[in-house]
Amino acid sequence: MEVVGLDSIKELDSREGQDINSLIERSRIPLPDPDRWLDEDVKRNVAMIATDAVLNWGRLNSIYMHATGPACCIFEFLSAFTARFDVARFGWEIFRPSPRQADVFVIAGTVTWKMAVQLRRLYDQMPEPKWVVAMGACAISGGTFRESYSVVPGVNRIMPVDVYIPGCPPRPEGFLYGMLMLQEKIRRSSSKKQILEGTYKFKQNFRQFPAGNH
């Protein structure tokens, strides 16, 4: 039976440290928000394909959430799942820890550079179509801890964000309002645009995060 000795733990640690340092180098500017659906607003309302309407209706009423709660906001997220604020009336009571089964990635709390590598990996593991919700001031811009040496100043440095929910922490009602805005966005999306966006994201990912280390 092999026992992993101390030297190989050092290797593990230094490899992870290198990953984090290289992520910091690559994340100097925030990624642009995917909001091109706002421009094509008028066109969409006029010419929506029937299959798109059905698909979108199905998607927005059965969102599977994947919540990573690095910090405090996760408790307001969980409070939204209780009977008092009841997220189940919208159809979203599924909240699984696995990214492979999720549609929406809710980042609730402060993101540090050490955790950012793991969050990016989780985002890449989610299948398309996927959306990202940044919940709380720390996920939007670093919040109270923006000047700190180890905090990512906003999660849009490492992944494109669809909805920003401000608050510290946002009340569960605020979280529900943010999710309703995401519903609106899903309702207006089209499969043709999704393919275009998917290609755009893939090209961006490939430029910034070449496959091979995931």
Binding site: L6, N21, S150
Partner: protein
């Protein structure tokens, strides 16, 4: 009620046990030399009448001329407490003897001091960064880290 022991009395007890050592009382704290810390702590843990069996807190401060490592000790048996300090004057090569052999609770706290302040603890079983990652440039809690 936990009684904070008078530092002069404790300092004289330590000086009696380690003749010729650099021990003095500075306000409420007893200051010893960095390389003797583990021996002094072993004495404080076992000496009858003192018996400091609980390490309350282990931290460090950066006064620009020197680093100061502070130990807050408590005795659950006698319900008294004391403050022990040690000072390192070499900024680039600060080394203090580790007390993990005396109290296991010092393990993570010493690693944190090494991580954030850069003070090495000789004799620590696993001294590596705990809160930040390997390859992080510098030690953030120093006053000259920007």
């Amino acid at each position: 009620m936990t009684v904070a022991l008078k530092s002069e009395q404790t300092a004289s007890q330590i000086a009696a046990a380690f003749p010729g050592a650099d021990v003095k009382a500075d306000g409420p704290a007893v200051v010893v030399a960095p390389d003797m810390v583990n021996k002094v702590c072993a004495f404080l843990k076992s000496a009858p009448g003192l018996e400091f069996d609980y390490l309350q807190n282990l931290t460090s401060t950066d006064y620009l001329d020197y680093f100061e490592v502070v130990y807050h000790l408590t005795s659950l048996k006698h319900n008294h407490s004391m403050v022990l300090k040690t000072r390192c004057f070499d900024r680039n090569n600060a080394e203090v003897a580790s007390v993990t052999g005396v109290w296991r609770g010092a393990d993570f706290q010493e690693r944190e001091v090494y991580d954030l302040m850069g003070i090495k603890f000789t004799g620590h079983p696993n001294l590596k960064r705990i809160l930040l990652w390997e390859g992080f440039p510098g030690h953030p809690l120093r006053r000259d880290y920007l």
